[in-house]
Amino acid sequence: MSERRKLVEVRDLKMYFPITSGVLRRHSGDVKAVDGVSFDIYEGETLGVVGESGCGKSTCGRAVLRLYDITSGTIKIDGVEIGAKSQHGLRKMRPTMQMVFQDPQACLNPRMTVAAIIGEPLDEHTNWSKKKKLDRIYELMDAVGLNRNFANRYPHAFSGGQRQRIGIARALALNPKFIICDEPIAALDVSIQAQVVNLLEELQDEFGLTYMFISHDLSMVRHIADRVAVMYLGKIIELAPRDALYDSPLHPYTEALLSAVPDPDPKIEARVERIILKGDVPSPANPPKGCNFCTRCPKVMDICREIDPEYRELRPGHFVACHLHNDTGATGAPRNEHTQQGEDA
């Protein structure tokens, strides 16, 4: 695993949105949407990011692309540190990193033709001739399975799945290396979802793309991702290779999340032991003391309400943040943070 090149390195990324109050707009608190996440994405792989709504997964994706000015942390994409770059300085980097958005209705300008939409990144970032651009647009339309004859139509003439294909073609226009897919299939029907997921996989093989695939659909993430990160209340609580995560989740939240997914087979359904979590996700403006999950955790211990568990690599490639897996957990505070003396089986 180590010889693969890291395309994206994120360290301790924080994205806080200020809460202001009063007439003077005094800064009175922060919504900690993303609160110190670290992860790598290797070249050519798909990192799935799952979590419930409000856990910060979309904000995390947008922050990685620097669509926000982040609060703190470092982001290195393709060897270039972009965490502190100015928005103007980022423009040169934009062709490397692109995004596919959730709502294919909202992310396409209704007054632009499909050709203009797909060609816009080319207008912005290249000085190609009209002819060359048009050739590229046709090439992209072929790649995502859109009929060339529709190049001069407007988005409203297309169905949801086709619109998502337009969005994907636009993201591909500048030959990016890294694409963030932010819930690209959430707005689509079941039978269309599979089409788009298969298209994304084909394009990955063809162009050697690296994806960060953000979704709340655990079963679809299991299908597309190589490694999966689970987020809860602004933090990554578990990150592991796909099979390890789905077959033997370590964090109680991951366990509960997986057990909550209904299975499309009544025979399996009858056997699944469901862990029903009590209550709702706390507000990210006012997270609980200690572990963020301590208010709903079925295996909560005293220490969980006091100390935030450290996010560490328990097995090679399997990261988890939970006191259950710190052998010091039951007795006291794990003060010396980098001793790897945890149970290792």
Partner: protein, 334 residues
């Protein structure tokens, strides 16, 4: 096939059309089904398959115009729902038929307290006075698992989370002990862990109260977990109808079969490539003269584009609208 005498709700040949400027949209075409007391009927289909419109036509919640119910019968407790006047329907809705909608954010009125909204059907339909209605409302909130019910009656919808709001909607729907509860994608807008809570609640409530439920969803997983019988809809028609285990173990319609292989699962083996149903759902601009699924069907043959298949019985209580016989792999001889 439907037609059982003691069914709580029996729908026969329902046709609903939306008359738009661009022409008629045939949203529901000859839908028939029945609902037995205490059973949970799952209705599955993609958006635009007519599953919501079917139920909305029955309880008169479609805007008319543009919607028109062109034909059909909906027998419920000695009445034909489709022939009742507005007043009678109004008296029925909320008392005998409760419903829960998809979006708990928009289906509660933001300017009234939750207590007021639960008490409203109690006072209107059951003629309770304020004090008794409040007491019953608190009981209901407790029933759907909202802690500190008495106090929360005074709260407004925005003070509840999405899952809690959906519980409030369920409490309102259950207020008058309805015979039938229609739930239209009640968990689609919720997170999986909250969805699991709501599903658990519904299972519990069914045991306690024993009403019949129609559960509309596009999620086969949810259906597998809670339904007794399943109705699969496509292009405004019922394409398959049967007991849940039978449908999942032995799906007869190519659409149902395809649907089951397109959805990945979090358990069991992982497929290298997802199966795909190619193409797009049909436009419903004409009255169907052929099978609506033929353009996307791997089994389609000549007859499929000439005739619209009727619903053929394939097993006890299990029927499908398809000319192709999944058991022989050839044409059905009918």
């Amino acid at each position: 096939m439907p037609g059982n005498g003691q069914a709580v709700l029996r729908v026969q040949d329902l046709k609903t059309v939306f008359a738009t400027r661009a022409g008629d949209i045939h949203a529901v075409n000859s839908v028939s089904f029945s609902l037995q007391p205490g059973e949970l009927l799952g209705v599955v289909g993609e958006s635009g398959s007519g599953k919501s419109v079917t139920m909305m036509s029955l309880i008169g919640l479609l805007p008319m115009p543009p919607a028109q119910v062109r034909a059909g019968e909906g027998h419920f407790g000695g009445n034909d729902l489709l022939k009742l006047g507005r007043k009678d329907l109004q008296a029925l809705r909320g008392r005998d038929i409760g419903f829960v909608f998809q979006d708990p954010m928009t289906s509660l009125n933001p300017v009234f307290t939750v207590g007021f909204q639960i008490m409203e059907p109690l006072r209107k339909h059951m003629g309770m006075d304020k004090a008794r209605a409040r007491q019953r409302a608190a009981e209901l909130l407790q029933l759907v698992g909202i802690p500190d019910a008495e106090r929360r009656l005074k709260d407004f919808p925005h003070q509840f989370s999405g899952g809690m709001r959906q519980r409030v909607m369920i409490a309102i729907a259950l207020a008058c002990d309805p015979k039938v509860l229609i739930a239209d994608e009640p968990t689609t807008a919720l997170d999986v862990t909250i969805q699991a809570q709501i599903l658990e609640l519904v299972k519990e409530l069914r045991q306690k109260l024993g009403m019949a439920i129609i559960w509309i969803t596009h999620d086969l997983g949810v259906i597998a977990g809670i339904a007794d019988r399943v109705m699969v809809m496509y292009g405004g028609q019922v394409v398959e109808y049967g007991p849940v285990r039978e449908i999942f173990a032995n799906p007869a319609h190519p659409y149902t079969r395809a649907l089951m292989t397109t959805v990945p699962s979090v358990r069991g083996a992982r497929a290298e490539k997802l199966n795909v149903i190619e193409g797009q759902p049909p436009m419903l601009s004409q009255h169907p003269t052929a099978c609506p699924f033929r353009a996307r069907c791997p089994q389609a043959f000549g007859r499929c584009s000439r005739e619209n298949p009727a619903r053929y019985t394939v097993a006890q209580g299990h029927d499908t609208a398809c000319f192709w016989d999944h058991e022989t792999g050839g044409e059905r001889h009918v």
